[in-house]
């Protein structure tokens, strides 16, 4: 029998080695990776040349794949094979892309999600995003000195289930050990709130390259509670560039340009926009492939006129978010600006006017999301220091429901509900003898399902024939802390069950991910095997460490027999950890997980009792 380890009463449980944890801001225009240093400070990890940002550009070139700065030039010379702003296509079908013709790509409407035809084949936005994530992972590994143990990737708060699932799939494809999807404005609030130690009600106005979010949060003694969020996942700095681009075409009387010239003019448009944050006018000079020479000057006044309604367009979600939170513009203690596009002067003016106060700009709007994600990754990985006792309570941005008779959407989980959340609703049959029920899961605020996003369809079969209205079918929605939904249905009188993790309509199938994973390893079987083993070992170390910690803290909750069973499972795991059999190691991990199930439940109970007892309620907050 294994010897019991008994620590001194006041001794801390065995100290865990610090785990390599990273936060990634996967942006429409630029992406970043950050990590918390040993001294507790979160920093962005730059490349060899000291550049913190990675342009979110992937070039499928003749000689292979280029990502980031290396791919920037290719967007002009090889626009069809150089993918920019793919975040806009995540979890989207061709029909969803109202602005598809703005891009020089050959779109293919693949199953669930659009694909782009490149010289390397048809690529889904998930695969392209995975290339960017992989580049960031490699950068982090080089600088942190080993494989990443824990990652948090941010998503726009207003991303729906399909877009979140696509992002999660991309992280998996990139080989990232993803612990959490985190909403971008929430990440920013963490970085800002922890840095400045503020309390009160704050709004985060986050205008990125292609997405807009507004979140309202309440900060109370280390708890970041999102009260409401709203946004537009197809509104960002890109749209301002495009307005300038259209203005150039008109002002210089340019005939419809080629893909190459379009890209060139869009880049000049962005340069001009950026220059106008500090100047009253910006020159736009370019020579097109047709020989036409462009030589224009864009003034701040004209820029303001042509983009005015885009600025206005961000204020509608702001109003709705405040309304959902039950607040007025004057109720806020501060407004934090996030995203490179908030450098535009008209944005700052509009925000200041609406809220009646100057927005807070004392942090880098490009970096703050990645820094917050790194802090969250560090905390989730178990590296947090004792005094770092903070918690995020986030919400789901869009209502979830099912289709009922007449094509109407019945809401089951309302928008802005705090996650995780479980909600159930009962439905019944409408025909005599009906033995199956089709369940159509939708997301959105509209009354008709056709106006909502279809997330999944599944069938509950084997309902015993009864008269109409007699069957009781309970549909349960569960949204986890990533904001991802799973749905199950159960006929109450007979217990017939059906369930689904929402994926099929818009996500990628598991088989498809497996195929992409294989392809990404160039069919190198050895590589696959060694990777599987490495992953199994990381899992095994993780579970063993968690179990050690739990035994040290709460071992007294176990009987001698239970303790012996856990020690035995732990011993087998440790023995297999030294071998080379990934499958056996996985089984040992599962066995240990099973052996600790009852223990975990008792520990949670003890935690809850301790949280509420022995302390006066007023000291709890």
């Amino acid at each position: 029998m294994a010897l019991l380890q008994i620590s001194e009463p006041d001794e801390a449980p065995p100290k865990r080695p610090r785990r390599r944890a990273i936060g990634i801001d996967l942006g429409t225009t630029n992406s970043l990776v950050a990590s918390v240093r040993d001294d507790g400070i979160a920093v962005v990890l730059p490349d060899d040349e000291g550049r913190p940002l990675v342009p979110s550009i992937v070039h499928y070139g003749e000689g292979g794949i280029e990502v980031g700065h290396d791919a920037v030039k290719a967007q002009i010379v090889d626009p069809h094979n150089t993918l920019v702003s793919v975040k806009r296509f995540m979890g989207r079908g061709l029909a969803d892309l109202s602005d598809a013709r703005r891009f020089p790509y050959r779109f293919v409407d693949g199953p669930g999600m659009v694909r782009v035809t490149t010289r390397a084949g048809d690529k889904s936005p998930v695969e392209v995003s995975a290339e960017i994530l992989r580049a960031l992972r490699l950068r982090a590994e080089a600088q942190l000195g080993g494989p990443v143990d824990a990652a948090v990737v941010t998503v726009p708060a207003y991303f729906d289930d399909a877009q979140r699932q696509a992002t999660k799939d991309a992280a998996k494809l990139a080989g990232l050990p993803l612990l959490r999807l985190l909403n971008e404005p929430t990440a920013a609030a963490v970085a800002y709130g922890l840095d400045h130690g503020v309390e009160g009600i704050y709004a985060v106005y986050d205008l990125g390259g292609g997405t807009f979010d507004i979140s309202v949060l309440k900060l109370t003694r280390g708890v970041f509670e999102v009260l409401a969020t709203h946004g537009d996942t197809a509104l960002g700095g890109d749209d301002f560039d495009h307005r300038v681009f259209c203005w150039i075409l008109e002002a210089a009387k340019v005939p419809p340009p080629s893909a190459e010239d379009s890209r060139l003019l869009l880049m000049r448009s962005r340069d001009a926009k950026e220059m106008l944050t500090g100047h009253e006018s910006a020159p736009i000079v370019a020579t097109l492939s047709t020989g036409q020479r462009i030589d224009l000057s864009l003034t701040a006044k004209v820029f303001c006129e042509i983009t005015h309604n885009l600025v206005e367009k961000t204020l509608a979600p702001v109003r709705r978010a405040l309304r959902d939170a039950g607040l007025k513009p004057g109720d806020l203690d501060g407004v934090v600006l996030v995203g490179g596009a908030t450098r535009m002067r008209e944005i700052r003016r509009a925000v200041a006017t609406y809220f009646g106060q100057a927005p807070l700009t004392n942090l880098d709007p490009d970096e703050v999301v990645a820094l917050g994600a790194a802090m969250q990754a560090n905390a989730l990985a178990g590296n947090r220091a004792k005094d770092e006792d903070w918690l995020l309570l986030d919400v789901i941005p869009l209502s979830l429901g099912v289709e009922t008779i007449g094509g109407l959407a019945e809401k089951i989980v309302p928008r802005n509900a705090t996650i995780p959340i479980t909600r159930a609703q009962e439905f019944t049959t409408w025909r005599d003898g009906q033995t199956a029920m089709a369940i159509h899961v939708v997301q959105g605020e509209r009354e008709r399902v056709d106006d909502c996003r279809s997330l999944a369809r599944f069938e509950l079969r084997g309902i015993p024939p009864m008269v109409a209205g007699a069957a009781r079918i309970r549909v349960t929605f569960q949204v986890d802390a990533d904001g991802l939904l799973s749905v199950s249905a159960r006929e109450q009188t007979t217990g017939v069950e059906a369930s689904i993790a929402v994926k099929p309509s818009y996500g990628l199938g598991d088989a498809e991910i497996a195929r992409m994973l294989r392809e990404s390893f160039d069919h190198a079987a050895d590589d696959m095997r060694s990777r599987a083993l490495a992953e199994a070992r990381v899992d095994a170390d993780h579970v063993a460490m968690a179990t050690d910690g739990a035994l040290a803290a709460d071992g007294d909750l176990l009987t001698q027999d239970e303790r012996a069973a856990i020690d035995a499972a732990l011993g087998r795991l440790r023995a297999l950890r030294e071998g080379n059999d990934a499958d056996a190691l996985r089984l040992a991990v599962d066995a240990l997980n099973r052996a600790t199930e009852a223990f975990a439940s008792r520990r949670m109970d003890r935690g809850v009792r301790q949280a509420l007892s022995g302390r006066a309620i007023d000291t709890l907050a």
Binding site: Q376, A546, M604, I617
Partner: protein, 175 residues
């Protein structure tokens, strides 16, 4: 696991009363989430993570229920075996209904006239009525009075809630 047999009040260590100390509820909620939230267990084994998800969802549900005036009353009645929104009895006081119908007409007129002040005044009226009903409900429920009167008031409160929400929508359209 969190004892699912405990009711929402017991879960937060609060007395099962309608008149609720909102600050105590908030504090207990945050203390519980600090313990059970999945983010506190991300580095734990599968079983613990699953439990954390269930427990945090339960705590969120309890907090939402107790924090909402209608849901809290409905829940307290439920603890006494009464379904406030049983579909076999959906009656409302005729005088009450007439007053609300009249308000809806005024609201429609104000919306057509884009009269923000009138809508605002209506909304305040409805909210004042709701507050008055809440305090009556507190007296009825916390004195353990017969449930019929409380049941009628909850239904009125829910009706006013819906009306206030609709007025809010109209106001948003007008401004």
């Amino acid at each position: 696991m969190l004892d699912f047999a405990r009711n929402h009040f017991e879960l937060f260590g609060l007395p099962a009363r309608y008149a609720l100390d909102a600050q105590a509820l908030d504090a207990a909620y945050r203390a519980l989430q600090r313990t059970v939230h999945p983010d506190r267990h991300a580095a734990s084994d599968d079983a613990t993570r699953r439990l954390a998800l269930q427990a945090a969802a339960r705590v969120n549900e309890a907090y939402r229920t107790l924090g909402d005036p209608v849901e809290r009353a409905r829940y307290l009645l439920g603890l006494r075996g009464v379904d406030a929104f049983d579909e076999t009895d959906t009656s409302l006081d005729v005088g009450f209904l007439e007053r609300q119908l009249e308000r809806r007409e005024r609201a429609a007129e104000a919306t057509d006239a884009r009269d923000e002040a009138a809508l605002d005044a209506l909304l305040r009226e409805v909210r004042d009525d709701a507050k008055a009903i809440e305090s009556t409900l507190g007296e009825l429920l916390d004195a353990q009075a017969p449930t019929a009167a409380a049941r009628a008031r909850v239904r009125e409160l829910k009706f006013l809630d819906k009306l206030a929400g609709d007025l809010d929508e109209m106001l948003a359209k007008v401004t």
